[in-house]
Structures are given as structure tokens and as C-alpha cells.
């Protein structure tokens, strides 16, 4: 029940936000929607399945460029482009996922890191399609004729509607047999396999689904910025996504929402804290989070509320205390 209330509150807040905040904040929250979709994919892949990806910016790049190229070169509408972006990115994700099967832990991190680093040079290389270094400019999204909203508000609602759908679909997938298999493969692969879980298909599918989500996110990033260029999809984007997932918390989908808000606003806050070196603030925040709240903001809040609840004598007080490290998403041995 509590969950239904929380979800309800989130939906209401998102729905009325454009009416109460200035338009540039609405604009910022379109990016939040895009990041939330991408981070959701990472939570499923890394949090629930233990595969570390430092390369999901590459899938966002694919999604963004599919929409941009179709719109810019062929004049196709966005509502055709976005599903195609999801498909293309998902297909690419399945291919990478199949390769990733052979790479454990930190090796996968390295390989996906490589993918992220190489992305801009590919985008630059195929100039005739991608516009090369200069990128492609797009038309700003317009609201359908007859609607009393601005193009920006329209994009905001569409982005959040799709984000909602992505969360719902992911929840359904993860709750069922698929999710059980994923978690089993993460926690105890040998037992899972001996119970008949096929690790290859499940792990690859998890990769594919996370890529679909990243592709959609990339499409919205492109439409919101109304511009794509290799500079948009540097490896820093991939790292930022992972940071968002970790800071938000890998245990629940709420982590995606919180993480997206954090990565959207932390860089702006960081330069207010220290205008001379925003990245110092960014880096130190990350390290401190890892040292003291390794299960992310959502995980930390959950522990906090649990502790508060326990002080009050009540039936719900009887809950085992979960040490931070044990509640972390990815349980792998530190050393090989």
C-alpha cells in the first residue's frame, strides 16, 4: 500500500510540476526524465544482474542519432523515430550483451568503457550520415495543433509518460520469472544454473532491455537539446549515468528517479560550491557517498527511516539491521 501511495505522490508531483515551477525548471526536468529512463536500464543490468557497464552512453548515442538522422536527413516525424531508436539500440544491446557474457566483473567494465570512449570517433567518422563533428541541428518539438501547451510542456509530458511506461514495463518484467532468474544469477549463479536457468539468454536479454531504455533516453536527450554532436556523447556521459545509478541507489527503481535528479543538478550546484573547480566537488562527493552511503541516497534513506521506526516501539520495529555493504546491489568477491 505504501508503495502505491508513493507512486501516486510521484505521479501527481510530476503532473503538476509545469504549473508551479518556472519554464526552465520544466526544461531541466525533461532531461531528468531522459536520465531516469537510462539509469533505470543500468539498475536492471548492474543492480539486479551484476553486470557493470561504463558504456551506456554509447546506446544513448545510437538512440539520439537514430532520431536525429531520420528527422534531419529524411524528415521523418519524431513519433516514428523514437520507437526505431529503441529498436536499433536494443538490437545493438543484444550484440554487446552476447559479447559481455564472456567478460566477468571488471573486465566487462573495461570493455564497455572502451565502447564509450570510441563512440565519438565513430560518430565523427561517418560524416555523410551523422554530420561529422558539427553534428545535426533539429527542429524544436512542437505541440500538436489544438493543444494549449507550449512545445516544451508537450515534450515534458510525453517524456514523463514514456518514463512512466518504462518504469511500469520494467517493474512487470522484474517481478516475474525473468526478474527472479536475474537475481538468482547475480547472487548464486551455480545454483541458478543447476535449477535450469539459462544464464546466456537471461543475461543477454537484460543487456538488451537496458539498451532499449538507454536508446529511448538518448532520443529524448536529442529532441530536448534539438541538437546532436559527438561532444554530446563522450565517455563522460556513460560515467555520469553510472554515477547517477550508484548515487540514487541500485536496489530499487526509486534510485533511478533520485539519481537522475542528482546528475541533472549536481554539476550546477558544484559550481556554486566552488566556482574554481566544480569537478573537485563532484569527485569528492562521489567518494564520500561511497564511503558512507554505499547503497545510494534511496538506500540510505531507507536505513534511516528503519532506524527511526525502530526507536518507536511498534510491531514493525522488528526488522533485521542490514549493514550497508550487505545490502549493496552487486555482490561479487573483491578479489579474483
Amino acid at each position: 500500500m505504501a508503495r502505491a501511495i508513493r507512486v501516486g505522490i510521484a505521479v501527481v508531483v510530476i503532473a503538476i510540476l509545469p504549473a508551479i515551477v518556472p519554464s526552465f525548471v520544466v526544461f531541466d526536468f525533461i532531461y531528468v526524465a531522459a536520465y531516469a529512463i537510462a539509469i533505470l536500464g543500468l539498475i536492471i543490468l548492474t543492480g539486479m544482474n551484476g553486470q557493470i557497464s561504463l558504456g551506456h552512453g554509447a546506446f544513448m548515442a545510437l538512440g539520439g542519432y537514430v532520431v536525429a538522422v531520420l528527422a534531419h536527413n529524411l524528415g521523418w516525424p519524431y513519433w516514428v523515430g523514437v520507437p526505431l531508436a529503441a529498436l536499433a539500440s536494443g538490437a545493438f544491446g543484444l550484440v554487446i550483451g552476447a559479447i559481455a557474457l564472456r567478460l566477468a566483473g571488471v573486465y566487462l567494465a573495461l570493455a564497455t568503457f572502451s565502447l564509450a570512449v570510441a563512440t565519438p570517433s565513430f560518430l565523427k567518422h561517418y560524416k555523410s550520415i551523422t554530420g561529422g563533428f558539427g553534428g545535426l541541428s533539429l527542429d524544436a518539438v512542437k505541440a500538436p495543433a489544438g493543444l494549449p501547451t507550449s512545445g516544451q510542456q508537450w515534450l515534458y509530458y510525453v517524456a514523463w509518460a514514456i518514463a512512466g511506461a518504462a518504469f511500469l514495463a520494467s517493474a512487470l518484467i522484474v517481478r516475474g520469472k525473468f526478474g527472479r532468474a536475474l537475481r538468482a544469477l547475480r547472487d548464486n549463479p551455480i545454483a541458478a544454473i543447476s535449477f535450469g536457468v539459462n544464464p546466456y539468454s537471461y543475461k543477454t536479454l537484460a543487456f538488451g532491455w537496458s539498451a532499449v531504455l538507454s536508446g529511448i533516453a538518448g532520443a529524448f536527450l536529442a529532441m530536448t537539446t534539438a541538437y546532436v554532436s559527438p561532444d554530446t556523447f563522450t565517455f563522460a556521459l556513460s560515467i555520469t549515468l553510472l554515477i547517477g545509478a550508484v548515487l540514487g541507489g541500485m536496489m530499487t527503481f526509486w534510485g533511478a528517479l533520485v539519481g537522475a535528479i542528482v546528475i541533472e543538478f549536481l554539476p550546477l550546484v558544484a559550481q556554486q560550491v566552488n566556482a574554481g573547480a566544480p569537478s573537485v566537488v563532484y569527485g569528492v562527493t562521489l567518494i564520500l557517498m561511497m564511503l558512507f552511503v554505499p547503497d545510494g541516497i534511496v538506500g540510505g534513506l531507507q536505513r534511516l527511516t528503519r532506524r527511526l521506526v525502530r526507536r518507536v516501539p511498534s510491531p514493525t520495529a522488528f526488522e533485521p539491521s542490514v549493514p550497508a555493504a550487505a545490502s549493496m546491489a552487486v555482490d561479487q568477491p573483491t578479489r579474483e
Binding site: 526552465f24 531541466d28 570517433s121 565523427k124 563533428f133 542528482v262 569537478s279
Partner: protein
């Protein structure tokens, strides 16, 4: 969380306030443009203070220093300039978000000196749709001058890369008509603009280009490219590179005992970079290199010892950025472009509107920019929006750039090209 929260709260307050104001229907009589009050002009900008292009962040700091200087002397027509300058990390989406915030929240009067071609391409449509002046962008791509009909609110400042390269081509045709040209260029729009200008300048003599080699900003060094050009038998070396790679390529050529006639693009020709190359590759690495100048070089202490403009620059730096390395030409660029901006605002007079400022920026003749190379006039017209078109070619002699001719105006070349 907290800042978001705060934003939301301020947002709600602001919205309520706006409702209250409009509700009471006592709107101010004057329909003044945003960002101008009786005492203040608000300008916005973004620079890369983090990320790969952070070296250029010093341009923003130079601008800030100059604006403080102006404000301490009473401001512009009685108004102080408030310059809101933020870090875009050289990322187009981040720049777009910041610019939305600057325009919609901070209500800036104009966006001034955003840096980088990708960043400016990304923010240009939004600013033009909203009629916000997008002034004196810090990039030399030719599109800022060329596409003014589509984007009337945007204007560049520095010489465009194509014109500069065309000038080198002219110099080659005049002085080395039998040259075998080898080109090293950065593989992006920056390098490609230079290549286009070189080809344009060579005209029907394009076959003089024997070999072109590109590098990526992710390359650790360029020695392989330099040996390719040497092996192709080139005797003329065009370096269209950012400073680090330009230094590397001059050093690599010297180390491979290759001594071609070398042309070096202006961006990389500041005295400290030449000294660095000379130190690492020996004086032969830089002897006789040819480049162009359009601004004074703060590291060239000997040449500008008695120069009034340089004294003015040194004073500003000493007072407002005392710990900064004032030999860094980026600061000087910032002060110089800030001077043009203030000049335009001054000429626009007490009644500031965005339209008026754009009109003045596109009908400008500025002869007294203290940091432009002596004789360089910053000049625009509504149909010709390349503010700086004059340059002088110079040759590196031991410790200093020595001008080799007269100021050249590339204006007519660019006009012919745009026809």
C-alpha cells in the same frame, strides 16, 4: 535534493508572485527588454571551466576582470554590468540547459561570449527564436558570419579560420610557388575550416597539396603523422592544430631532421607555446615559422614594453586577477572582446533595447580596441558580420614574432566567397 527542493520552492514563490503582479494588473508602463534596470545590465555566458577545453575558461575570467574594471569606473552609461558566467563543461546539452536558465530565470539582456562551435551551434536556434542577442561567440567557424539571415541575433568576433588559412595560401603562392604542401589538421570542424580556406586560397593550384594527415585530440602525440608528411616529400608544413599538438608537431619535425617552411595557425602561435617548442626541440624547431597576428601578445614583453594598450591590460590583471598568469593570451582575448561588448553597450546609449544593441553590433567601426594589433579595425555591416578580418603575417625570429608585411584585410576574399 536540497537545491532541487530550493529551486522548486523559489519557483512556486516566483509563480505566486507573478500571478499576484499580473493579477493586480499594474504592469509597468515601459515595455523594456529583460536584463536592464536603471542601475544594472545583466549579461550571461558559459565557458568550459571543467572538461577537455578548460584552458579556454581563462577567457571568461578575463572578461570578468574587465567588467569589474568598468564597473569600478561607474559602469556603462551609469549602469553596472552583472556578468553571470557558468561552466558548461564543453557539453552542448549542459550549455543549452544553462542558457535556458540564464534567459528565463536570470533574465539576461544578452548572451555574450559562449565558447566552442558545438556549444554555440546548440544554443543558437533557441536564442534566435527568443530574440536574445547571441553576441561575439568565441569560435572562428565561418557559420557565424555566413548564416546571419537565418540567425540574425548571432554574431562572431574573431577572424574566421577559413580566411586565415586563405591568407597562408596567398603567402605560399607569392613566395613559394613550387611548394609541396603537407597539412596536419585536427579532425573536426576546426581543422576542416582551415582546410577549406587553404584550398580556396590556392584556387586552381590545389594540386600543390601533396599529403594531408589528421590527428584526433585523443592521440597521445603526432610524430607518426609528421613522419608521413616528411616521407611524402613535402617541403611546406601547414599546422592547423590546437596548441599542445602544434608544439608537438614542430618538435617532432625537428627531431626527424625535417626542416620545411612551416605555417602555424594563429590559435597556437602565442609566445609561450613557441618558447615551449623551442625548449623541447631546439631553436631550429621554431626558426622561421610563419603565422598571423590580430591581437597583441601579453607574453611578448619586449615588443609591447611601452604600449599603452598593454599597460592597460597589465593594470587590469594586476588589480582584478593578481594571481593569474597574465602571459596567457586567453585572458587578453577576454579583456579585448569585453572591450568590444562594452563599446557596443556604450554606443547604444541610455535607452537599451536588444534590437538597438544588435543594430549597433552590426554597424560597428571600432578603431580603438586597445588590445587589437595596431591598425586592426573591428568592423561590421548588417550584411557582413565578420568583425575582425584584418591580420598581419609574421615570422618567428629567435625570440619574437616579426611582422613580414602590412596588415592584410581578408574582407573582400570572404565577401567573394559568400556571393
Amino acid at each position: 535534493m536540497i537545491p532541487v527542493y530550493r529551486k522548486a520552492v523559489t519557483g512556486i514563490l516566483a509563480a505566486t508572485f507573478a500571478l499576484a503582479v499580473t493579477g493586480s494588473a499594474v504592469a509597468p508602463a515601459l515595455a523594456a527588454d529583460p536584463g536592464v534596470t536603471d542601475t544594472e545590465i545583466v549579461l550571461g555566458g558559459t565557458h568550459p571551466y571543467s572538461g577537455p577545453a578548460s584552458a579556454y575558461g581563462n577567457i571568461g575570467k578575463g572578461i570578468g576582470a574587465y567588467f569589474s574594471y568598468v564597473n569600478d569606473r561607474g559602469g556603462v552609461n551609469g549602469r553596472k554590468i552583472k556578468y553571470i558566467d557558468k561552466d558548461d563543461g564543453y557539453s552542448p546539452p549542459q550549455a543549452v540547459q544553462i542558457v535556458h536558465q540564464l534567459v528565463e530565470q536570470d533574465k539576461v539582456f544578452a548572451i555574450f561570449d559562449t565558447l566552442g562551435t558545438a556549444v554555440n551551434t546548440a544554443i543558437r536556434p533557441y536564442l534566435n527564436q527568443n530574440g536574445v542577442p547571441h553576441m561575439f561567440v568565441a569560435t572562428g567557424a565561418s557559420t557565424w558570419g555566413k548564416d546571419y539571415q537565418k540567425f540574425p541575433w548571432t554574431i562572431g568576433w574573431q577572424p574566421d579560420y577559413q580566411a586565415e588559412a586563405a591568407l597562408y595560401a596567398q603567402d605560399i603562392l607569392q613566395n613559394h610557388p613550387k611548394a609541396k604542401i603537407g597539412v596536419l589538421y585536427q579532425n573536426d570542424d576546426y581543422g576542416e575550416d582551415y582546410n577549406a580556406g587553404l584550398k580556396r586560397g590556392l584556387g586552381k593550384h590545389q594540386e600543390m597539396i601533396v599529403k594531408m594527415a589528421s590527428y584526433e585530440t585523443t592521440d597521445p602525440n603526432v610524430s607518426s603523422q609528421v613522419s608521413t608528411l616528411k616521407a611524402a616529400g613535402c617541403d611546406t608544413f601547414m599546422i592547423f592544430a590546437t596548441p599542445k599538438f602544434a608544439i608537438q608537431s614542430m618538435v617532432a619535425a625537428a627531431q626527424q631532421s625535417w626542416h620545411p617552411t612551416t605555417y602555424l595557425n594563429n590559435v597556437s602561435a602565442a609566445v609561450p607555446f613557441m618558447n615551449a617548442a623551442s625548449k623541447a626541440g631546439g631553436p631550429a624547431a621554431v626558426a622561421g615559422v610563419i603565422s598571423t597576428i590580430y591581437l597583441k601578445d601579453p607574453a611578448n614583453h619586449a615588443r609591447y614594453a611601452g604600449d599603452a594598450g598593454m599597460k592597460f591590460y597589465n593594470e587590469i590583471m594586476a588589480k582584478y586577477l593578481p594571481t593569474a598568469d597574465k602571459d596567457d593570451g586567453n585572458y587578453l582575448y577576454g579583456v579585448s572582446i569585453g572591450y568590444t561588448m562594452v563599446d557596443v553597450l556604450k554606443r547604444a546609449g541610455k535607452d537599451l533595447t536588444r534590437k538597438k544593441v544588435m543594430d549597433i553590433a552590426t554597424n560597428l567601426v571600432e578603431k580603438d580596441n586597445p588590445l587589437a594589433y595596431p591598425g586592426v579595425v573591428i568592423r561590421t555591416s548588417p550584411t557582413f558580420r565578420y568583425p575582425i578580418t584584418q591580420m598581419i603575417t609574421a615570422r618567428w625570429l629567435a625570440t619574437d614574432w616579426s611582422p613580414t608585411g602590412l596588415l592584410v584585410d581578408t574582407r573582400s576574399m570572404t565577401m567573394a566567397e559568400n556571393k
